[in-house]
Amino acid sequence: MNDKKLKAKDFITIGIFSALIFAVEFACGMLGFIHPYIVAAYVVLIPLVGSIPMMLFYTKIEKFGMLTIMSVLLAIVMFVTGMGWLGGPLIIAAGFVADLLAKKGNYKSFKLIAISHGVFCLWICANYFPVIVTAKDYRKNMLEGGYSAEYCDNLFRAINGKTIGVLLILCFVFGVIGAFLGKAVVKKHFEKAGIV
């Protein structure tokens, strides 16, 4: 029997953790309804909160494909819930690269896991793609409607084509920080309880 291949049980574990990550995304998404600016804060919130399940997830399967499949699932759910498919390639690419990185350390080296988690967190930026794509046209529309340029810039200050780079970097940085946080939580609770 090939132990390197994913088995039925692993697919179930991947599904559970994807659902948990999505629950985190939804919970943060609710905050986004308060004001669109909070949407920009996803890059901090989701990596930090999501790191708790993610770090446990890293200890659970330790086989190649776990992150790639998770990213495909995230992309599918994003697509089906109408959050756009433009981000799909980014999500899957992030998942695949993260998987490769973690594999390099045999899913054991914490240094590589931290970087891998940072890369994985880039998927969060897929949330912004539709806004970025539409923002330009939208701004033009508003300018024609009589709004001042300054005002429009204000509205889209946090999320636009220029800041996406910054957002990506933030995702990565907080992903790495989250890895440390998540690891601490895993140690505090799950290792102590004997689950890992």
Binding site: A8, G15, A19, P36, V49, V80, M83, W85, L86, S148
Partner: protein, 234 residues
Amino acid sequence: MIKISLDPRTKLFMIFAVSFIVMVNAITPLEWGIRIMVTLIPILLLVTEGKYASAFRFTVFYGASLLLLKYCISESSTGIFSAILVGYCGIVAQFLPAMITAWYVIRTTKIGEFMSAMQKMHVPDGISISLAVVMRFFPTIKEEYSSINDAMKMRGISLGGGKVTKMIEYRMIPLMFSCISIGEELSAAAVTRGLGAPVKRTSPYELKMKAADFIMIGIFAVSVIIFITAKYFR
């Protein structure tokens, strides 16, 4: 009212098309017309499925945001209130069509049908199994979370003693413990029922594209083409 049941693949194409259309800005009346049409189609489909309440809510919500947007955007006020309002309405008017379509698809598709469609589209079993687990776990997480919330209320720690980190910790940790133990038992129960067999999974649903499916795909494909030509070949 006649119930129009569409093939899950058609529904997926509808989401694809609408998600595309909402990302391109509508300028001419024709484009606005198409946009409103692709919004109205899922609403009408919701009505044929007997989901009157959600159809009504979506219509009012979408209509209101369109009207507000039309009147607010022509004003030259720069107050904070209108900024927030414009921000909201802009986003609602822009993305609500995609939300409505997604809502329609999620509400009217059985998981089994969806899985069957995935099989037809040659998605690997591994991915469809994981996806089925995601679908099964959303309601589970909701159930578990509400029990945990109750328990927190009884302990008077809903606010985590004022610390945000504790608030998150007290919610996440029991939730994850529950999900993991449910997952263990679920896996055991699933493998004893043959999950993981090296054969292609099958499904009792036999999907067939019908006339309605082709009409829908036609309408949405044409709409997408019109938007593409308008944007790139104007």
